[in-house]
């Protein structure tokens, strides 16, 4: 892509470094930005710089926010008895989208990974324990991913939270929509059977 000139090539390279963006999409985005009115590019650049400058972690739940307390933590209508623990900020937005959950969140910013030597002290576990010791929370929902790291994280957390007298539950994993029983793996099927419910 040398024939574009240095500054355009640089823009394409920067865009191609973003997650999920291949060289072709990067080229399309770059050309779009260059052909669009100058204000469009200006707005985008400003939005990126501003978000970057203002972003911080909520002092309670560790989610990304631009205020000291995030929107959820400062909402008086949320149920403070129940806490949902997730790995990443994007998991909060996924659960919020379904609107079924009205409790609070805690964002770990990762998961325990023995192979990568990532333990509880590399996550926001200390902040979590401080919250739980305050005594308001009655139930914790472990919503970590159903993979090795997510399972290790849930196991570790349930071992330290249960002795505190707090109810601990794990998200039920069943068969995903569109999957077939025939192709389900052993672990998924076992979980789906355990988490079965009565049909009304």
């Amino acid at each position: 892509m040398k024939y574009y000139g240095a500054s355009i090539t640089r823009l394409i390279d920067e865009l191609a470094g973003l997650p999920g963006v291949g060289p072709k999409s990067a080229q399309r985005m770059a050309l779009y930005l260059l052909n669009a009115p100058a204000q469009v590019t200006q707005n985008l650049a400003n939005a990126m710089l501003e978000a970057r400058k203002n972003i911080r972690y909520c002092s309670v739940c560790s989610n990304l926010t631009d205020t000291q307390l995030c929107q959820i933590c400062s909402d008086p209508r949320r149920n403070r008895d129940i806490l949902c623990i997730v790995e990443e900020p994007k998991d909060v937005s996924a659960i919020e989208k379904v609107r079924g959950f009205k409790g609070m969140y805690h964002v770990l910013h990762g998961a325990i990974s023995p192979r990568d030597n990532i333990g509880p002290d590399e996550l926001t576990v200390k902040q979590l324990l401080k919250r739980l010791q305050e005594g308001t929370i009655k139930e914790v929902i472990l919503a970590t991913n159903p993979n090795l790291e997510g399972e290790a994280t849930s196991l570790f957390l349930s071992q330290i939270i249960k002795p505190m007298g707090i109810k601990v539950t794990r998200l039920a994993y069943g068969l995903p929509m569109g999957a077939s029983v025939e192709y389900a793996d052993e672990v998924t099927l076992t979980r789906a059977l355990e988490g079965r419910r009565e049909i009304e």
Partner: protein, 258 residues
């Protein structure tokens, strides 16, 4: 179109893009392999369960020009008991990390493959720490780093006496006299009991070792002997081992606090 079939243990899966994964496998027929599993992170993917680490899977693989890719896969055995306890997850991770870092791509080692699968089964039943140490000993023997156990590695005399030492550069155990002379080299002091436990671990089947009673002093010495030996031969520090140490220190810290 070139396709081949192999049974393999999934050592690791690394996210690539939004829905793909790069798998590191230890296969029965071809040893260590790196293959792409396209679309395996999609929630409806049929491959999803079978490409999770610590799963024994039958793969049908398409030979690519640069990288091979999974065409079909079917789970043969998962080890659900591993996920019930933190120490089991830790030592299973330790085993697969050692396999990944001590084997060469494309070189089959069918005995080692069988040892790994049996280790994952036994980790869910017996004492995970002991199973993991026995696994590491069998592994170093099978990849060609077996330490000298019958004689002093330096003077070649019989190992008499209770106090011994272990030195990876010397190639194994040392008698008390040689240990004194070797004091500047990498070495751990240990008791005869540790040497006897090592011999037992190499001779016995894993299924028998899960019930073996080992005191905490011997456990400690086994830890240092294996750590030193693996670091010397593999040239790196095992990340999972560092994690296990860190978690143990953390637990001790919390237990003494309360």
């Amino acid at each position: 179109m070139k396709l081949y079939k192999t049974d393999a243990l999934v050592l690791r899966n690394l996210s690539r893009g939004d829905i793909d994964q790069l798998l590191v496998l230890f296969s029965l027929e071809y040893g260590k392999l790196k293959v792409m599993a396209h679309g395996s992170r999609k929630i409806t993917s049929r491959k999803r369960g079978a490409v999770q680490p610590l799963t024994l899977t039958r793969f049908l693989i398409h030979k690519g020009r640069y990288l091979d890719s999974v065409r079909q896969c079917e789970e043969l055995e998962s080890f659900p008991e591993l996920f019930l306890r933190m120490d089991r997850i830790c030592y299973a991770s330790y085993a697969v990390e050692l396999i990944e870092n001590s084997t060469v791509e494309g070189e089959a080692n069918q005995v080692l493959f069988a040892v790994l699968v049996e280790t994952l089964r036994q980790l869910g039943r017996g004492d995970p720490e002991i199973i993991a140490r026995a696994f590491a000993l069998k592994l170093i023997t099978l990849v060609g780093y077996k330490p000298v156990l019958d004689l002093c590695a330096k003077c070649r005399k019989n190992l008499t006496g209770k106090a011994l030492a272990f030195s990876p550069p010397a190639g194994g155990f040392l008698c008390a006299d040689c240990a004194r002379e070797n004091s500047e080299n990498q070495m751990v002091m240990c008791h005869r009991g540790t040497l006897e436990t090592i011999k037992l671990m190499l001779a016995w089947e894993l299924s028998k070792l899960g019930q073996l009673k080992v005191d905490s002093g011997t456990r400690g010495e086994l830890y240092y002997v294996l750590k030193l030996h693996l670091e010397y031969h593999l040239g790196y520090r095992c990340a999972t081992e560092m994690f296990i140490d860190k978690l143990r220190n953390r637990n001790n810290r919390y237990n003494t606090k309360s």
